[in-house]
Every structure is written in structure tokens, then in C-alpha cells.
Symmetry: C2
Subunit: 278 residues, 2 copies
Amino acid sequence: MKIVIVGLGVIGGSYALALKNCGYNDVYGIDTDVSALNIAENKGIIKKGFTDGKEILNHCDLVILSIYPDSVVKFLTKNKAFFKSGAVLTDTTGIKVSLVSNIEKILRDDIEFVFGHPMAGREKKGLAYADSKVFKGANYIITPTNRTSSNAINIVEKLALDIGFKRVTKVHPKEHDALIAFTSQLPHIIAVALINSDDEKYETGKFIGDSYRELTRISNINGELWTELFLNNKENLLKSIDNFEKQLTLLKNGLIENDKNLLMNLFRESSIRREKLE
Amino acid sequence: MKIVIVGLGVIGGSYALALKNCGYNDVYGIDTDVSALNIAENKGIIKKGFTDGKEILNHCDLVILSIYPDSVVKFLTKNKAFFKSGAVLTDTTGIKVSLVSNIEKILRDDIEFVFGHPMAGREKKGLAYADSKVFKGANYIITPTNRTSSNAINIVEKLALDIGFKRVTKVHPKEHDALIAFTSQLPHIIAVALINSDDEKYETGKFIGDSYRELTRISNINGELWTELFLNNKENLLKSIDNFEKQLTLLKNGLIENDKNLLMNLFRESSIRREKLE
């Protein structure tokens, strides 16, 4: 199987590394950044790099699009004529409803698109931060549509398991976006609000433990990408923020009222939930 | 130097392990839980265990109180007569103003108390989760008072660096409690609110990445301990929650108004802050 990765950033680069590690060796790269292509070639994680799709796409059975959601649509429009008949395309983006709708409008009948979301990332961007370990033990989500064949799904699912994901779950794109607003987007919003609420009177770094480190890691955020993801999933995200604010208010009231029982109950509930999480 | 650790839970046990690792071998333990004492003796991380202070305290130069804040006061009251003259006592609790005031009222003139806060912990409790690595590279805070001699401070500071803390910072107890409300207590409140806001329609564990894992780790919380810590530092904590809520509202408004510029600015600010954090 000939594979091409579109976008050799932190995620595309991690795919290239992980594919190489598990024996896929017919892997190519497309990126507008020539230096990223050169580095990837020199590292031996792609056979050859291309700055556009014209020459390579019609040879590839699987196309992994690890670029921003809007760029996925643009890439498909621009390269529509070049895909190999029967090719399977998959993406790595964090929102699905708007993407599915935009893609399926323009998808050629003889190619397949399996919408995928590897739930693994890094707060840094660029090939330099790529790391095959990022996928180890992580969750992978596929959002099939009426148009997706089980054969195409199987190809993407097998690849995900091969490169280290621990489980592949299939849900409707709508469910995906509602779930992800809570499990991924809300944590990013919280992390940003937390670190931005620091009054910076002192050198905060001297007074932190792992809790602050962990809760703020993702506040170092790729603003361009996440602004796009958030605004394309606004209703779900606002609902998740509201639910979170309600719980915060409960805790605040427990503090204001010195209500030990209420607080203890909320902490018991959160502990039980965390214990059974994975 | 003869050292006794009061309370062989996750923190006291980690002290015992870390002390052993760096060559302190005249270390004793006090705990009401005989099985914890037996385990610690068998592991060779304490020389001998005691269920109260009567017999051992008057031999010890350094007393590490790794018990809840209220228990520190109770232990000192109960064992007032037994401390060795000139002994240095130190605690490991996460709040200082109320503790300092309660302790200094009852402290014997011929013993010293260095109020300390090792900013390292585990969400689990009990000796079974003790781990000397928890201190490696962590922050240690000392809150000197008018009564604390520099000699006593030096002893506690040296010990902290010996067992792996990367830096010891001294601040006034009031500053400590204001800082810690933000860097430690607020993250715990946020983690609890986040996991409790899950509507649990789906198996959340299948749809999470590292961000959700990290932001909820500390929602598995020792409710008894943290309720005490929160209520004893209520004003500071409520102020930190308010500041956080203001930032959350900013982000929410950016989403509602589709204000890309505002969002990008907030993400740029959070990224800069996180980069320079440590």
C-alpha cells in the first residue's frame, strides 16, 4: 500500500515516524515547506517529498491529510483530478460535522473519505516536535457517514491500531463534535482561562506543583488552529462551558456557605468518576 | 541527626523513602496505623515505628509532621511535653496563615517550627503510593515568621534540597496562602468542576486525549484534606475563582461574537505565559 501524508507538521510527522516504526515503508509526503520535506527525507521517514499533489497522488492508495480543517477542503478542491481511483482518504482534524458536509459535497464518486480523529497531540507545532510515541495507548475516533464503506473504514482502523492507538471507536459526526467539545475543547479553554487569570504579582513558577503544570500545559496553544476548531463547534462548546460553570458555582457556593457536606459530596463524586475513567 | 516522621501516608512515606535514598539513616516513624509502621520498618525506610510520641520525640532533632493541618495542632498540643529541647519541627501542609497562628500560640519557647510546603503530592493517599521521585525537581516553600531562626530554616532548607527539591523559596505566610489559592487550590476546584460537568451520555474514556486526562487527574481528590485546606483559605480561593471566571467569560464572549482577533490574542497571551513559566 502506497501512502502519502499531506502536511508534515507535528501530527503528520508523527504519522510518518510511527508508520516507519511498524514497517510501512512506501510512504510519501506533501508539504509546501520544502525544508520539512528535506528533513523528512533525510530522516528516512518518507521516501520522497512533493510540494503539491499533481505527481504523487495518482499513485497512492491511502492519503492521510494532517492539515487544518479548512485546508483539507482546499486541498481536496485543488487536487480533485489527481487522486487515484479507489483511493482512501482520511483526516486528523478535531471537528467533524462541518468538515463532513464540506467534503462530501465535493468528493469524487470513486474515492472514499474516512473521517478520523486521532486523540493525540502536542501543544507545539512543526515536524521538530513529531514523536511516534504520542499515539501509543491513545484513543482513535472514526465518524462514518452513509457514504463510507466498511472496507475503507477497516483500512483506516487497521492502520490506527498498527501505529499504536489502543482503541478505535465509531460514532456519528454529530455525537463526535458534542463529545469533543467537552473532552478536548473545554479543557483547552479552561487551561487558557487559568493561566490568563494569574495576576503575576510573583514569579508563579516558584510556587507551582504538578497540578498547575498539568492544568496549563495546553494553554501553550496553536491559536490559529484552535480558533478555527472552536468557532466551527461553537454551540457544543458553549454548552460544555455552561455545564462546567454550573459545577464551578456549586463548589463556590459550598465554600461561601462553609458547607462541608456539599463539598465532600462533590469531591466524592469527582473521585469516583476519575477512578472509573479509563 | 535523628529524624522522626509523624504520619506515614503518601507524603510521610515519600519523605522516608527519599531520606533513605540520600543517606539519612537515623529516621523513625510515628503513626496510629500499626500496619503502616510495620510495612515501613520491613521496607527499611524507618528504623523503628511508634504509635505515639512519648518514647521517641525527646530523642529527635528534627520532626517532620506530614499530617493534616488540624492534626498538626492536635499533635503538638498532645505531645508538648515530649519534644527534645532545641528540636526543629516542620510541617508539609498546604495552608499557612491559620496554621502559623494556631501553632505559635502553643509552641514551647525552646523548640522551633519551620513552616514548610513541599509542592509535590499524589492524588492517592496512603503509604502504598509513597514515591521518593515525587520530590525530584519540585518547588519547596518556607514561610518564615518573626519567631523562626535562620539556623532552623537552614536545616529544613538543606533537607529539602537533599531529598531532591530543585528550589526553596521563602515568602510570608499571607503571600503563600494567596499564591497557593491560585496555583494549587484553584486547579483542584477546576478539575472537580470539569469531571462533574460530564453529562455521562457516552463512555467518556473512549473519547479523551491527554488534555482531559491531565486536567482531571487531581479530581480524584482526598475530600477530607482538601475541604479543610479550602475552607481555611476561603477568601483567597474565592478571589482566584472570580479571576478565573472573568477570563472564562472573556473567552465565551469571543466565541459568541465570533471575535477571532480577541480569541487569537487570548491564546497568544496564554502561550507566552506558559512558555516562560518554568
